[in-house]
Amino acid sequence: MLVDALHRKLFRNLAELRGQLVTIALVVACGIAAYVCLRSTWDSLLFSRTTYYERYRFADVFATCKRAPEALRGRLEAIPGVAIAETRVTERVLIPLDDLPEPASGRVVSIPAGRSPALDALFLRSGRLVEPGHNDEVVLLETFAKGHDLTPGSRFPVVFNGQRRQLRVVGTAASPEYIMAMAPGDLTPDPLRFAVLWMDRDALAPAFQMQGAFNDLTLRLQPGASEPAVLEAVDTLLEPYGGLGTVGRSKQLSHFMLSGELSQLEGMASVVPVIFLGVAAFLLNVVLSRLVFLQRSQIAALKALGYRDLTIGLHFLELVSVIVLLGAAGGLGLGIWFGRMMTELYAAFFHFPVLEYRLAPSVVFAAVGISLLAALAGALFTVRAVVRLPPAEAMRPPAPTIYHRTVLERLGLLALLGPAARMVVREIERRPLRLLLSSVGIAMAVAITVIGQFWGDAMDFMIDVQFGGAMREDLTVVFTEPRPARAVRELAHLPGVLRVEGLREVPVRVRSGAGFRDSILIGYPDEPDLRRLLDQYGKPHPLPVSGVVLTDKLAELFDIEPGQSVTLEVREGDRRHLDVLVSGLVGESFGLRVHARAATVAPLLGEEPLVTTALLLVDPATAGATRARLKELPAVASVTRRDNLAERFVEQSRAMIVTFSIILTLFASVIAVGVVYNNARVALSMRSRELASLRVLGFSQAEVGAILLGELAVQVLLAIPAGLAIGTWLAGLMMSTVDPETYRFPVVVSARSYAFAVVVALVSGVISALLVRRRLQSLDLIGVLKTRD
């Protein structure tokens, strides 16, 4: 015979068990697919970003100042650890386009004419770089150009320092410095309303009186250089020239925002795949050990015939391996497909010019290896337990459990139940471990359904707190520079303006000992209404009459408690250092900030009350006219609509998360169905003899069904609350991996998500019950009794 008898048995077993086999393989496939998809997307994005940064020479250090002489460059480059210093002229500009109700804001950045800059090179998407001597040439940020149909050859107006000029697009480009291109103070990138313009330095400098000078500096560090030391040295050198602070790459706006976005993904990519794989592995272990247990008498027969334990063990390992490898193949395919899709989606979102899908062999090995190990362990454990018995004993049905009167029986409650219900209760009381394992399996499936949904919930909750509670203005007006408080009253007189409040925002460096964090000090009106300070749960936090309120994470970093004082280094004006009293802490969802009343801030800064931002509530009927009027005001740098901002936030950040959620939920649901179905099938096989006997004794099909399905129902009902609790706990675990200095989402799972997880479990239960009932109807009564299996 070409194929030996044991292998024939293997093939026939596989064919016989195909229903269960497919569902088990699906569980494996989903576990592996989730793992591979998330890990590979994460790896690919990090790799794409790193490659982009390297290839386009993203700088390590960024600094700005008022105006420093070009001659300083030599001294900057001489700082130990600095490899390259590139000086630039950058300024804010306004771009009044006809298709926008208010002018877009932009940042013009100087580049050397005719060549690529030494740092932060441009990734040219169309056209060419600017040429020397052509003062009206500009390379425009690709996303903005696309959004407004500007192509090489197009002309558009730009307001430089109050002067309107027509510029000509010669090229469109992306840059590692502006992956997340956004105006300072914005919460998310807005490709339609924020532009970066690269111009010849010689053409740009005169417009801002910057000939022979610079106001922006980027540095490349030597390998092994100490970044903090360089930052301090640069700060010291720029101090006399109005240095506005030097930051490392981690604080560069685009990189910081990108890291924030990626850190949300990281939470998913680090913990979730492990959870999915772990759950799949656990289920595999339980299901396969039971599957093997059903073959107990066959194992014994093989032993009686003289087969060695090793041979029998290998036979079952083969069976299990086939199932796992089938699932693994499917899971890898699915994971790679979804991973590619997600990577492309993200890369398009971030406009990475380099996109390489990476699937690390270690990811594949981990995914397949863990599944295989779990399955083999489950199967082997059972095979070992069976082969250790003398065959004579293994061929007998397992020794009956020692029966005691169950608790319910002793209480006399069981008499109230029918015989079927009594059997269910007895079975459960006598085999609590089996019930426990089944329930834990289903609970894990429920739990991963919950975490599949959780990110969407966290996002929704945060959006709700942020845009529904904290920000209640219709329009946010940012002034070009701090204005006297009366500017707020002037805006209040504009037609259609219902209410105005001013905010004073000052960049500060919070310092404690050797450590520091860059932050913002926000001064609120005495009774703020349009912008309130809320904690992460949306609860208003009062502003103290004196002192400041710190984000709790900031206080935690520096080990500061309310009642102590903190040092704030103001990073504008006279750059004074302040010791202020910390009156309270607030648990905010994101950012590290310092809050106080404007009345507290002004004396601290030694100034008359000033405002940098005005918050407006406007009459919706005339909102358009109000915005048009606002954009004519020279003191206004930008006007943002809150509804736009919320929409963009939802569109961009949430859309990404939701795509992931859908994929995870899909996998979780398949796993849930697989688990519940297998539980029911195995229970049927284990008890078919008993159930057939009952049928022979005259029990109806419905009664017999009730015994089996009653147990299934108990398993599912026990699993649901446990699963919801485990899911919530896992969500917390997942959150703990997100950089706490960026985001601190509260672990809030919506009722809708809980309900969804419950529905998935119940539907899985019902589908399994129907499938099992069909099998019950075809129970071979005589056959089952005739042979002992």
């Binding site: 008898a5 044991l6 026939r12 027969a301 020794a399 299996d789």
Partner: protein, 243 residues
Amino acid sequence: MTSPLENPAAVPVIEARGLTKIYQMGEVEVPALRGVDFVLGEGEFVVLLGASGSGKSTLLNLLGGLDVPTDGWLAYRGRELTHLGEAGLTAYRRHHVGFVFQFYNLIPSLTALENVALVTEIAEDPLSPAEALELVGLGPRRDHFPSQLSGGEQQRVAIARAIAKRPDVLLCDEPTGALDFQTGVLVLEVIERVNAELGTTTAVITHNAPVARIADRVVMLADGLVHGVEANATRVPASELTW
């Protein structure tokens, strides 16, 4: 001097002295054998007779290396089995013992031929599976699965499977227990034929007294002890049995 338990004419194949087996059922100890002496001689056909619970299946399981005694001494052709260990017992079963069980214990996913092949593939000098099936009169049914065979046919497949390895000892545990009279006789005829034609030493367990007439010797068990041994002066062919 020889004990009445032995057949003085035959070379002993299996010998047991003071064989004891106690099952631990939870907190209760159930003695199944309480010091049994027994000898199975070369080529002999022995029937172990006893009511259910008498210990006969336990004895057979011990003789076949399916279980280990709690106490006592057991040897196959002079080699002690008692301390052989798992691997040794497996080898013993694989090379020397053929089993037939009351409930056949066929692998449901394999055909009759493949069930026999299961043994021939691991035996040293086996019959061909087809030959073994011919011997039990099931040649034409070789490609049927157990579920497609009657109880008697399944039991004959089990016998074919047991003898295909040309075992030294054939041990049958209630081989007719699940069968009707006519089918039972058919199965006994096959066992008888194997004993006669292949010279296989055979022990058959039954609770059915008339079956004892086909044996050379009858060992009666009750309460885990040997209660008597009778030698049949003449063996009655299975075909002439009635019960």
